[in-house]
């Protein structure tokens, strides 16, 4: 249920950037979400539809770009994609490993409609 808080944070962030650009409507929102982030796409979209109603973000489509979880073995330096909960290094079986990708939790970009040409930033 933390998806509600996440959706609220996302809405504030998207509205801030849209207002800065003088947008009249937000059409698309692209998120970059690592596989290790505990966020459910459908749930965020569900709350999004409710809380964005009546704002310039109403009806905006959320796009989730999922980033695969990638690990690096700190022993043999082998890098590999995480499969299920098998964290250990497939090369040397070490459990001394670090996450190098998959934690992302970002608003990457928004597509907006503007009535006039936006001022360059």
């Amino acid at each position: 249920m933390h998806e509600l808080s996440i959706s609220q944070n996302l809405l504030e962030l998207a509205l801030k950037h849209a207002n800065q650009a003088g947008a009249s409507r937000i059409i698309d929102i692209t998120l970059e979400i690592g596989e290790l982030s505990t966020v459910l796409d459908d749930s965020v979209q569900f709350y999004w539809d409710m809380i964005s109603a009546g704002t310039i973000a109403e009806g905006a489509q959320l796009h989730f770009e999922r980033i695969a979880a990638k690990m690096e073995c700190l022993g043999c330096r082998h890098t590999y994609l995480l499969k299920q909960s098998e964290l250990s290094c497939p090369e040397c079986d070490s459990i001394n490993v670090a996450v190098i990708a998959g934690d992302e939790f970002l608003l990457k970009s928004i597509e907006v409609e503007t009535d006039q040409v936006a001022e360059p930033a």
Binding site: H2, S5, I6, E12, L13, T38, I95, S109, E111
Partner: protein, 217 residues
């Protein structure tokens, strides 16, 4: 016309900014804050009360308690003499930095050395929301089962120390400590771990010594 706006900003950046403000406020008041997370029933309040009993003579301790509803836990703590504030999240599954900010307003921070924040009982959501405390501590408990690190990796990865409570129940429950600790080691290598029992008092001393050192450093 249609415009593409690159943003690349943390979705929870607003929460993180207020968390930073909370931490500055704690630092200025000389308060060391810890965020205690656990599943419901793991023994968060019991651990806080035991910790208070151990450290009461050397540290001034305050508590903030987060729950969906009721002030049972804060009242329990107050009855022991702990300066406690209750936050009711009204159904929200975690504390966030704004809730902590308003709770800090209600505490005499200048009279506190160590602030124990009891998060909402949950092994998923609290891991995503920084509060501004200095350390994140997870309390696991034996009856939850030995597979929890594998099932809730994001929680186990993000903590600075781990308490394993209810070790007095080990003889009665199929809890494989080796399997549990292997999972912890994979997710959080070298994590400092304190096996304790709030019931018998075993291990509380070691935990309290560590916490006191963290607070004074």
């Amino acid at each position: 016309m249609k415009t593409h706006i690159p943003v690349v900003e943390q979705i929870l950046s607003a929460n993180d900014q207020i968390a930073e403000q909370n931490q500055t406020r704690l630092d200025q008041a000389g308060v060391f804050g810890i965020n205690l997370m656990a599943s419901p029933g793991a023994g968060k309040t019991s651990t806080i009360i035991k910790t208070f009993e151990h450290l009461n003579s050397s540290l001034r301790i305050g508590m903030i308690n987060g729950d969906l509803a009721t002030s049972i836990d804060a009242e329990k703590a107050q009855a022991k003499g702990i300066t406690a504030v209750q936050i009711n999240t009204g159904g929200n599954c975690h504390l966030d930095s704004v809730m902590l900010q308003s709770a800090l307003d209600q505490l005499p921070l200048e009279e506190i050395d160590l602030l124990l924040v009891e998060n909402v009982g949950n092994l998923v959501c609290p891991a995503n929301f920084m509060l501004g405390t200095h350390k994140n501590i997870l309390i696991a408990s034996v009856p939850e089962g030995d597979d929890k690190p594998y099932k809730y990796p994001s929680m186990y990865r993000g903590v600075d120390a781990l308490i394993i409570n209810k070790i007095d129940l080990l003889p009665y429950i199929d809890f494989n400590m080796g399997y549990f600790q292997k999972g912890v080691e994979m997710l959080n290598p070298g994590l400092v771990t304190f096996p304790i029992s709030c019931k018998t008092g075993e291990g509380i001393g070691e935990w309290a010594v560590w916490l006191e050192k963290q607070t004074n450093d």
